[in-house]
Amino acid sequence: MRETMAVEAIETGTVIDHIPAGQGLNILARIQKRNAQARLTVGLNLPSKGSGLKDIIKVEGWLFSEQDAAEMALYAPHATVNIIEAYKVVKKFPIGLPAEFTGIFPCPNTNCISHAEPVATRFSVTETPEKVQLRCHFCERSFADSLFKH
């Protein structure tokens, strides 16, 4: 089955491709949190050229910046982002883990001051071959990335 049959092409916007199957809905939820009006087309469990299955999300009318894409990195660290204009890919970049996440995730430590004050959360990211950890700027605790993926 060709991909284009499963998910229609868009004129202008962003295509997030090569999302590991199963993570598409998490990314979808995050995009909708950013913009509930975003026009989205979603493909789940599509055959992937490399191996197994993948999810794919097309976002119409919103050209993702690298920072926008970085927000999705915990769910799909190896996905690729395609920026589409006039039905053509004008830019393509891999989602990469940013050095810091600002104002995106609540701190898993419920006694962290960030839960009590009008302040944006900040986490610095450390990545080793074994694991990804996020360290809270305020309470100084480090957390496994799995704690943020829900």
Binding site: N109, N111, C112, I113, S114, H115, A116, E117, P118, V119, C136, H137, F138, C139, E140, R141, S142
Partner: protein, 312 residues
């Protein structure tokens, strides 16, 4: 001398370099032997304890007064506008327009970091929840230096609750810069958290777990005791476990003559009162040293030039 601590926020022990730590210890030593100079004359220091504390607040306030400064503040968040729903951000904004520096304790982790980013004057963390308590670490370092004559190459055992004790976490990380050997003696459920072990590994610090307090005593220069808290166990389990982490005077026979016993206090049962009369007991001097360490810290944060250090 360029004073690297002038107008610096003191939030976390990780904000202080090895030479910053040595500077504070040196000045505390001078203040203890010569008495403090009026480095806070005409300064107003806010002492903001959103959570009650005895030793930390009293020793900070003593230090401010001995340096000639005056104090404003509160000893319990219950009587402040926090109770009316004011945010910490707003409180600190206001207080920093009144005072020249803010000493604060708060029940939430990260409160001091947030305050330091809002305040226009230096913020000194007197404890933020279970996170950091840097002035305790400074007085511990000063006490270790005072009784051993050095900070480098010491063998230190940490005993008791190593999981929840912020004091041992910060001290282990600070001492880690001075090539120590660490021994940990703790019940399985109260072992050092893995992130502390990881940071010690990254610092190249040698550490090992020992099965008993006795095994540690003959090996070390400093025996750092902490309290195993009842509420972490069921009552029967507590009696069984806590009894293994109680130090008595007769256990100290194999210790080096220079070995000192430290404890952040308050102690409950973990150091028998018969230890107090031995030459190894050092926890009351340690508590007294809280004033000198805090005098040194305040003098350095509030003054660019410290005469005593130029002469040293």
């Amino acid at each position: 001398m360029v004073n690297p601590l002038f107008r610096k926020n003191i939030v976390s022990i990780s904000d202080l370099s090895k030479s910053d730590l040595e500077l504070i210890v040196n000045l505390a030593t001078i203040f203890k032997s010569q008495g403090p100079s009026p480095y806070l004359a005409n300064r107003v220091i806010a002492s903001c304890f959103f959570e009650a504390s005895t030793r930390t607040r009293l020793s900070f306030e003593t230090a401010v007064q001995r340096l000639g400064g005056s104090l404003i503040g509160f000893s319990d968040g219950a009587n402040t506008s926090t109770k009316k729903g004011e945010t910490l951000t707003d409180s600190i904004h206001m207080i920093s327009s009144y005072a020249d520096a803010i000493i604060m304790r708060h029940p939430r982790e990260g409160a001091a970091r947030l305050a330091s980013e809002v305040a226009t004057v230096p913020v000194i963390n007197g404890g933020d929840g279970a996170n950091q308590h840097p002035s305790q670490t400074l007085l511990d370092l000063f006490s270790i230096y005072e009784c051993q004559g050095r900070l480098e190459n010491l063998s230190v055992a940490f005993v008791g609750d190593l999981k929840y004790g912020r004091t041992v976490h910060s001290l282990a990380q600070a001492l880690g810069r001075f090539n120590p050997t660490f021994y940990f003696v703790a019940p399985e459920v109260l072992k050092m958290p893995s992130y502390i072990e990881q940071s010690l590994n990254e610092q190249g610090v040698a550490f090992e777990y020992l099965d008993s307090l006795d095994a540690a005593i003959e090996k070390v220069d400093i025996l750092y005791m902490t309290r195993v808290q009842k509420e972490r166990f069921d009552p029967t389990e507590y009696m069984h476990i806590a009894s293994q982490y109680v130090l008595t005077a007769d256990m100290l026979n194999p210790a080096k003559s220079t070995m000192k016993v430290m404890h952040p206090l308050p102690r409950v049962d973990e150091i028998h009162p018969d230890v107090d009369a031995t030459s190894h007991a050092y926890y009351f001097q340690q508590a007294e040293n809280g004033v000198y360490a805090r005098e040194a810290l305040l003098a350095l944060v509030m003054n660019e030039n410290i005469q005593e250090l130029n002469n040293a």
